[in-house]
């Protein structure tokens, strides 16, 4: 495969879209390096699928630009863009068998039949579909259908592969398997993958970078670890995993909250706002001290690999704590909110 042409960056700039009175995308900017695996993560209705469809050419943007290298994609119709899509429900052609489905994009473009056969065979091997060429698509399992949909897209060697919630139709166990496979496939092909999902675990498993979307805008972007560990907004903190949100005001001595005075790594830009801390970052300690509070255990739930514990501070602020061992309800404990894990939220 021609390595260089697959490595073109994809730059979405100022893309907006309205449906009737509803603003679905509001001047969205997304810059993706060639060969990157990027995820648009957000709840349903946040505009992520619309953005994907605009890149694919299946939806028309009201304004903005989508550039692939030097090419402006918005000037091209869907059938001339060097991008391919894996659809949510796979959208396999019901009248064609597996082999013909995969060969579709090549045959439409009149590739010589010998080349079609070679590329289809290679794609089928890559996705472990050997021997299924003659099968009708209705005779396939969910996982097989998904691999056919993937093969049908990658056989065209697109510069960007768009994946619209491709795992939502699979059961949980299969999903975990496919996520890993997808990541390996992307590394092997070296082309850009842009995945849309509402599943934060999926996003973190597969992506080099995550764009968290909410209400038609990008809330935050970054590598999974950065987005998870350092959420900048309340939405991101709560959408990616669980978070304790603590209202706070800025003072000269530190950040004042109903729980007490705290020291944070970042100085808040606001005078009044929120702090966030992940339940697994709360630390059980022996004695009071800086960034430490006293609390009472309310409830303790055993989850196998960890325990979910609800505690309340003297001012009755409730916090969630995640740790290895159970705590007895009613027990008095000391908790540290470590400075490096106490995140200052922008909004």
């Amino acid at each position: 495969m021609e390595g260089t042409s697959l490595q073109r960056p994809l730059v979405v700039a100022g893309v907006s879209k309205r449906f009737a009175a509803q603003r679905v995308l509001d001047r969205v900017d997304v810059a993706i390096a060639g060969g990157e695996f990027v995820t648009l993560l957000g709840p349903s209705g946040c505009g992520k699928t619309t953005l994907l469809r605009i890149i694919a050419g299946l939806e028309i943007a009201d304004e903005g630009s989508v550039r692939l290298g030097e090419t402006e994609l918005l000037d091209l119709p869907a059938n001339s863009r060097p991008v391919n899509t894996v659809f949510q429900n796979f959208a396999l052609f019901p009248h064609l068998n597996v082999g013909d489905n995969i060969a579709f994009g090549l045959r439409i473009r009149k590739f010589p039949e010998k080349q079609v056969a070679e590329r289809v065979t290679r794609a089928m091997e890559m996705l472990r579909l050997d021997g299924l060429s003659e099968r009708r698509t209705t005779q396939l399992s969910g996982g097989q259908k998904q691999r056919v949909a993937l093969a049908r897209a990658i056989v065209n060697e697109p510069a960007v592969l768009l994946l619209d919630e491709p795992m939502s139709a699979l059961d949980a166990k299969l999903r975990a398997e496919v996520q890993l496979e997808l990541r390996h496939l992307q590394k092997r092909l070296g082309c850009t993958f842009l995945l849309v999902t509402h599943d934060q675990e999926e996003a973190m498993t597969v992506s080099d970078r995550i764009f968290v979307m909410n209400r038609g805008t990008i809330e935050q972007e970054g590598p999974p670890q950065e987005v998870y560990e350092h959420p900048r907004t309340r939405f991101v903190a709560e959408f990616l995993g669980a978070a304790n949100i603590i209202p706070a005001t800025r003072t000269e001595k530190g950040v004042r909250t109903p729980l007490g005075l705290f020291d944070t790594t970042r100085v808040p830009a606001w005078s009044q706002g929120n702090l966030a801390i992940r339940p697994e970052r709360l630390r059980l300690v022996d004695a009071p001290g800086a960034n430490r509070i006293q609390a009472t255990v309310d409830e303790s739930i055993y989850r196998g690999d960890h325990c979910d514990i609800t505690i309340h501070a003297p001012d009755s602020t409730r916090l969630r704590l995640k740790q290895r061992d159970l705590l007895a309800p009613g027990q008095q404990i000391h908790i540290e909110l470590p400075r490096e894990h106490l995140e200052v939220l922008d909004a």
């Binding site: 469809r53 694919a56 050419g57 299946l58 869907a78 059938n79 001339s80 991008v83 391919n84 899509t85 659809f87 949510q88 429900n89 959208a91 396999l92 052609f93 019901p94 009248h95 064609l96 579709f104 994009g105 439409i108 473009r109 049908r152 065209n156």
Partner: protein, 286 residues
């Protein structure tokens, strides 16, 4: 095989089951027998009878009517009747093709409205059926005489009349298929470099096949038998087999020849349907 079966926990003999089946299906069977099978047989018998000098029926078996249809008349051979038959088939085909070509966009238009407006448009499509075909066709006469008198009477007027009288029949079955289209397959075709025609061919056509097949059948068959429209819009220039049959049972009082014509038309329709189904099946259309 055992002769006794257990049904609903009761021991039931095969004969009892047969009786039960016969009893429940007998109303339908009786209906078909009285109103379809017997008339058809009568028609077949009549086709082999002949007309007496006063228009009465002479019940002695003869091939005379079919020979007449094939062109062997009293004054030697002529292709008149065969021409009528060929013209009928050609006009019915043309009507069907035009109806389908028009029905697709209409079905798409209706299916893409909001549910409330969809019903409005469907009712609008059905309204012409509240009016008798004869009156509607006279309506066309009026329209033609005002807008373009040189078209009426003539073949183009007949085609327009036939298309308009059959269009709704073509739209409704297509609409039910179009409404159920999985649009992501259409998107997939577009995403995979398909041109507009290929998107239709691979994204839409396979999904609307059932509706298309029904639409073709319900347009083609009535179009084969039509006689009001060519009568009123075609003048005497466009005689179709429907008119010919009507003439035999009316003015000519040649019931046997009319019966032979009807029977031939029925047979031709069945053969055409058979071929269509096989061809459509080969092309993956059914």
């Amino acid at each position: 095989m055992p002769d006794r079966l257990v049904s609903h926990g009761q021991l039931v003999t095969r004969r009892r089951l047969l009786w039960r089946g016969a009893a429940t299906s007998s109303p339908g069977v009786l209906w078909l027998l009285v109103f379809l099978a017997i008339p058809c047989l009568l028609l077949l018998a009549l086709a082999f009878a002949s007309r007496g000098s006063y228009g009465q029926i002479i019940w002695s078996p003869t091939w005379r009517n079919f020979r007449k249809l094939a062109g062997y008349g009293v004054f030697g051979w002529s292709a008149d009747y065969l021409w009528i038959l060929a013209r009928t088939v050609w006009l019915a085909l043309l009507t069907t093709i035009l109806c389908i070509l028009l029905a697709y966009p209409i079905a798409f238009f209706v299916a893409r409205r909001s549910p409330r407006w969809r019903n409005f448009w469907l009712v609008l499509l059905m309204i012409p059926f509240c009016t008798n075909l004869v009156i509607r066709t006279y309506g066309w006469q009026l329209v033609f005489s005002i807008l373009s008198p040189n078209l009426y009477p003539g073949a183009i007027a007949v085609i327009i009349g036939m298309v308009s009288s059959n269009l709704s029949f073509a739209v409704l079955p297509l609409y039910t298929s179009v409404e159920r289209i999985d649009w992501s397959i259409v998107d997939a075709a577009e995403d995979l470099y398909a041109s507009r025609w290929s998107v239709f061919r691979h994204g839409i056509l396979p999904q609307t096949r059932p509706g298309l097949v029904v639409a073709v059948i319900v347009t083609f068959i009535p179009a084969l038998g039509t006689f009001v429209v060519p009568d009123l819009l075609g003048g005497s220039k466009t005689m179709l087999i429907g008119n010919l049959i009507q003439q035999q049972f009316g003015a000519s009082r040649d019931f046997p020849f009319g019966a032979a014509l009807s029977f031939t038309l029925m047979l031709a329709t069945l053969i055409a349907l058979g071929i269509y189904q096989r061809r459509a099946g080969e092309a993956g259309l059914v």
